[in-house]
Symmetry: C2
């Protein structure tokens, strides 16, 4: 039977002993920075291999105070928008030598708070956060380089990468108006964060500018989930004066609306006009395809990661003058809006 080596307990000390050098020397060859004679380096390397030695990263990090890890914290991992952002950050982080890991908070403040208490949050070098907490207070207690994505919290003191929600909603609504619609409904969720508020505001402003008074019965506010979008759509379409156009304020709501239209046997672009906010699977599947406000999801992630890494490298703990980047959105016109006259 082969010899079973218990690698568990092998430390730098053992290596030093077996190689007849000091731990300092072993550490040197381990980190490759200092000058070590070629002969001893080889000897140490050999012992490391023989002993199957794996350095304890924790001990190292404890003195270096650096782990080369980033974490990205999102409300839900099922939403393609978030995974797109994650993809962007991972890509940039990787190039810069950082390992990225993902934490999903389920949109639960307690879970988010838990993360910030955890071993992990204390030991990553930086955090990219799509926050769930609403009060700036929470964010001000964060003691780590952090950049906010998508949802920005005023007075949080943190950097952020956002999009122009206002303009996106405004353009969508204006598109409806220009095509002759007036009974334009908006389906959204709670106005907990700036994004939701801004989208509603953009919708409203466009209406007002075109001299159409937003009718409260055309504002269906539920949750930001698909099911809610479905229900709101059904209610809207079964009401006495159904709208001719619906603006679905996020990807999930839009999917819910599309499913509702399927069940109600309403033809999109014919019986009802629709614009969604953010790309989504069904919008690209149905025919005609659904017009959406597209945002640079991937780029939001890359931007955020770049800002974060910059901050880490500069060892920038300065929260006094947060940088905000606002990326542009684009109305992808497809066939879901009917021209009225």
């Amino acid at each position: 039977m082969e010899r079973v080596v218990t690698e568990k307990d092998i430390t730098i000390k053992d290596v030093a002993k077996h190689a007849n050098v000091s731990v300092a020397t072993v550490s040197r060859v381990l980190n490759g920075l200092d000058r070590v004679s070629e002969s001893t380096r080889k000897r140490v390397l050999k012992v490391i291999d023989e002993l199957n030695f794996v350095p304890n990263t924790m001990a190292a990090s404890m003195v270096k105070k650096k782990t080369n890890m980033l974490s990205v914290v999102v409300p839900e991992i099922q939403n393609p928008f978030y995974t797109a952002v994650i993809g962007g950050t991972v890509e940039v982080a990787k190039k810069a030598g950082f390992f990225t890991l993902v934490v999903s908070t389920n949109g639960d403040e307690a879970e988010e708070a838990e993360f910030f208490e955890s071993f992990l949050s204390k030991n990553v070098d930086g955090i990219i956060l799509i926050g769930t907490h609403k009060e700036a207070e929470f964010y001000r207690t964060i003691r780590k380089p952090t950049v906010l994505v998508d949802r920005y919290i005023n007075n949080s003191g943190l950097d952020g990468v956002m999009i122009d929600n206002y303009r996106g909603a405004y353009e969508a609504t204006r598109h409806f108006l220009e095509y002759g619609h007036e009974r334009i409904a908006i389906i959204d969720g709670a106005h907990d964060f700036n994004d939701g508020k801004d989208r509603y505001w953009g919708y409203q402003q466009a209406m007002v500018e075109f001299g159409v008074t937003p009718d409260p019965k055309y504002h269906k506010q539920g949750s930001w989930l698909e099911e809610s979008g479905y229900r709101s759509t059904v209610e809207l379409m079964q009401s006495e004066y159904p709208p001719t156009a619906i603006f679905a304020a996020n990807n999930l709501i839009c999917q819910g609306a599309i499913k509702a239209f399927r069940d109600l046997k309403l033809d999109i672009g014919e019986d009802i006009s629709l614009i969604g906010f953010d790309e989504n699977e069904l919008a690209q599947f149905v025919q005609p395809r659904v017009t959406v406000v597209r945002r640079p999801t991937h780029e939001m992630g890359t931007q955020a990661a770049e800002m974060l890494i910059q901050k880490i490298k500069e060892n920038d703990a300065d929260q006094s003058n947060p940088k905000k980047v606002v990326l542009d959105v684009e109305l992808m016109k497809r066939g879901s809006v009917k021209k009225l006259n």
Copy 2:
């Protein structure tokens, strides 16, 4: 201007000093386990608060050799199957007091290997792994409690939670056969892992049992991605003798097939019969809905987490007798298979 406290450098020592106690005592109140007089406990707590002291989890973990963190490593975070598994493990882990974080390897062996080199992998208490590496060798080097999910690697020496891929594919194919189909195609990807192989095998066995010789031209092997499913479907349907039924061997391929049928203007359940493996968004959207082999995704995650936590608690490093759990699949019959006579 307010006083700016540099919490960074406050350690248990400072607290001890300010509270006129030993570090041992501070550690005690920190961990709450040992008996400390109510008065000193209060005093220490007060100082902790005043100084805004945050214990260094790394130092603690270094001696405790425990972080209460689990990590789940998946090939891609965009695939709903994986997020469902993740959801299951997080749920169980949380109840057991473990924090879970997610790592996506992009199905890249190098990235997966990188994870196992990283600070993180060294410092979580356990790992749930949907592996990308193909050789058992790689898995045998893992020095952490680990449970494999979905893809099982023989001789890896690791525990695993899988499903009965063979039976799923077998049932699907048999369903086609019982409905009178004979020109049954299968679209799959590389047979890198047991799951793909088993599904193909199940398909084949069913055919043979019904006396139908599997025709190689009805086996389209591409990648496991949607685009490949789309292309294979188009090729199949535009060939001289198109199949009457298609078995799409995973969720993405099935979505690709559905999109292809849309573009080819073929009615599912009428012009072409379809069964997918694993639930997916489009299968539930189109009408009639698509019959699929459903697997207990969430449960795979919970099962794996339970096994892992058990292992951790037992401090079980024994790899000599890996446990394998095989969960059952179910054919969800919907309207996508036409009865032929």
